[in-house]
């Protein structure tokens, strides 16, 4: 569904992604693990168009699911795929690529309800927005109690739920989750990963970036290991969990 081909991203002169290639298939949970500064967030922001790739290509396969309009400026190649790189961030979001960013990035002065409504900003199908809101509130009952509160008054865990809920409100074809477990109490971490499984079971493809490699690999189908801007290892999540190299570097065993 999502294909990165040898993607290069720079911060000024700093070469942050040195030719990343990865694939996420429809219905999968794929995780991207690696230490701080390896380029995990950079990868997600390049896919989302917050950062622009200076080399390589990013494709979104055009399944035509959801009956979305694909005329939003997406350039189609011969396979009918849409090239995402060089599209502005808001158009990528409108194609169904939704990110829950690192550090949650809740709109602190907007109410919880308004934050969720921002997630559905590009949609006009009001009936399905309503049912997606119900679904999100069923997934995160805590948000239901806080609908009118400003987002900034929520606790860290609640903000994380709001960030994921907000991303889900766009009814994404693929959900990019950046460090959903960061800074959360262990019990909440478990809960968040449980919810990631649920979201995936309901049919959303997920690309998950995590420092908590153990937990990430346990929910994922496949994984990629990122080291200083390069993918050094990839494979089925079970195999990566069993890999002694991964165990030593990322699982703290």
């Amino acid at each position: 569904m999502l294909i990165l081909e040898s993607v290069h991203t720079y911060y000024g002169h700093i070469h942050a992604l040195k030719g990343i290639s990865l694939t996420v298939n429809e219905g999968e949970i794929v995780t991207l693990i690696g230490s701080n500064g390896a380029g995990k967030t950079t990868t997600l922001n390049t896919i989302s168009g917050v950062l622009s790739a200076r080399g390589g290509a990013i494709y979104l396969q055009d399944s035509g699911r959801n009956g979305r309009s694909r005329s939003a400026g997406g350039r189609h190649d011969s396979d009918g795929d849409i090239r995402l790189d060089r599209l502005p961030a808001h158009e990528i979001a409108r194609l169904g690529v939704s990110q829950s960013p690192e550090g949650r990035k809740i709109f602190a002065r907007l109410s919880v309800q308004e934050n969720l409504a921002m997630g559905a900003f590009a949609r006009t199908d009001h009936d399905s927005i309503r049912s997606d809101l119900d679904r999100v509130l069923k997934l995160f009952p805590r948000l239901q109690e806080r609908l009118t509160q400003p987002g900034g008054t929520l606790s860290g865990g609640e903000q994380q739920m709001l960030a994921i809920g907000r991303a889900l409100m766009s009814s994404p074809r693929i959900l990019l989750l950046d460090e959903p477990s960061m800074g959360l109490a262990p019990i909440l971490v478990q809960q968040i990963f449980q919810i990631i499984r649920e979201i995936n079971a309901q049919g959303t493809t997920i690309l998950l970036v995590e420092q908590n490699a153990q937990a990430a690999l346990q929910v994922a189908n496949r994984g990629y290991v990122l080291e200083t801007g390069n993918i050094v290892l990839s494979g089925a999540a079970q195999d990566l969990l069993a890999d002694p190299q991964v165990a030593e570097a990322y699982l703290g065993i």
Binding site: S48, G49, V50, P88, A89, H90, E91, A93, R94, S98, Q99, P101, K105, F107, A108, R109, L110, E114, A117, M118, G119, F121, A122, P150, G152, R166, S170
Partner: protein, 357 residues
């Protein structure tokens, strides 16, 4: 030797404490001076109550106009963190355009027609002024500010001052130095007399229209999808773009809204002051900026109340302090300096920081 950094630090905190004491003393001195002037001079003049009421009403009218302009400053600051110092000129362009629209209407005799014709024509004149201001505001954003979006914050500020001068002197070149005088139609000349208090129709109309426009803006910002997107962009541009918000479009709309309000203010100020010329946006622009800072820049209700308070202070101040009315600008700008010294976040600053937390 080892104790010297500690000493230096102590001296530093001493210095800061001394500075704080000094500003406090200065503040107290100013309050005492103002109270002394008001009680011994202003109130001793023995003006009747109707005089003060008239002045206060004048102040509210002026404050309403300032508020419309101040909202433009605060909206743009809220989203781009820049002061659009050409905003006063955006208002002036609205006033100049409104003048020509008025002349056109007068030449066709619409201003002497039955009252519905006059009302519709006046509204049209205001909309034409607003449209001209919107055009200028959006052009400014595109040509003078957007190319500098990634530059350090001082750079667009300088560009704004350049744009302000460019607009002033372009108007001077095209329309000349002599003021264009707005001729009020008979329908809105005169006014209401309530006892000893006289309320000119134009004043009442300006105040009502200002309030209506402010309510409309507040509705757009708080209750519409567009307004929600504006608030989201103001908080976090890149996260807003992740939600599918076209940030550039939102910035353009922000300029459009601010400029439309300024255009309306320009036309109404034309009717109020009866003249417009190339530099007639400059001082009101600075006043509106003062009002926005008074309320807390970036804060929308702050701009509204700051402007009304500034209008009142400017209208009542000279008589209350017993100084000539020509010095009302001195009062306004002294106030600006004092706010920047004593409360840089403005009157509504606390509310803002609370919401941010």
């Amino acid at each position: 030797m080892t104790s010297s950094p500690v000493k230096a630090q102590a001296a530093g905190t001493d210095g800061r404490a001394a500075m704080k004491q000094f500003t406090r003393a200065l503040g107290a001195a100013i309050v005492i001076l103002v109270v002394w002037r008001v009680t011994t001079v202003g109130l001793a003049e023995g003006y009747p109550a109707s005089f003060w009421i008239s002045q206060a009403l004048n102040g509210l009218v002026l404050g309403g106009v300032y508020a419309l302009v101040a909202l433009g400053y605060t909206l743009v600051y809220g989203i781009l963190f820049m002061i659009n110092f050409a905003h006063g000129e955006v208002m002036m362009i609205g006033g100049i355009t409104g003048f020509f629209a008025l002349q056109f209407a007068q030449a066709r005799g619409w201003m002497e027609g039955p009252w519905p014709v006059v009302v519709v024509a006046l509204l049209l004149i205001m909309f034409i002024g607003m449209a001209a201001s919107v055009l200028i505001g959006v052009t400014l954003e595109r040509l003078a500010y957007r190319p500098l979006r990634q530059a350090p914050r001082l750079v667009p500020l300088i560009s704004a001052i350049g744009a302000s001068l460019f607009l002033q002197y372009s108007v001077l070149l095209i329309f000349g130095v002599s003021p264009h005088s707005y001729r009020k139609p008979a329908l809105i000349s005169g006014g209401l007399r309530l006892g000893d208090v006289f309320i000119p129709y134009t004043g009442a109309i300006i105040f009502v229209i200002s309030i209506l426009l402010m309510l409309a803006l507040y509705f757009i910002i708080q209750r519409t999808k567009l307004g929600r997107a504006m608030r989201a962009v103001a908080e976090d541009r890149s996260t807003a773009s992740l939600m599918g918000v076209d940030v550039n479009a939102v910035i353009v709309v922000t300029f459009m809204l601010g400029s439309a309000l300024a255009g309306a203010a320009g036309v109404m100020l034309g009717f109020h002051n009866t003249v417009v010329k190339f530099n007639s946006g400059f001082i009101p622009g600075l006043k509106a900026f003062t009002a926005a800072v008074l309320g807390g820049i970036g804060n929308i209700p702050g701009a509204m109340f700051g402007a009304l308070i500034l209008g009142l202070i400017e209208a009542i101040g000279p008589s209350a302090l017993g100084i000539p009315t020509e010095y009302k600008d001195v009062i306004a700008f002294t106030l600006l300096v004092l706010i920047l010294i004593f409360r840089p976040t403005g009157l509504f600053g606390e509310v803002l920081s609370e919401k941010r937390a």
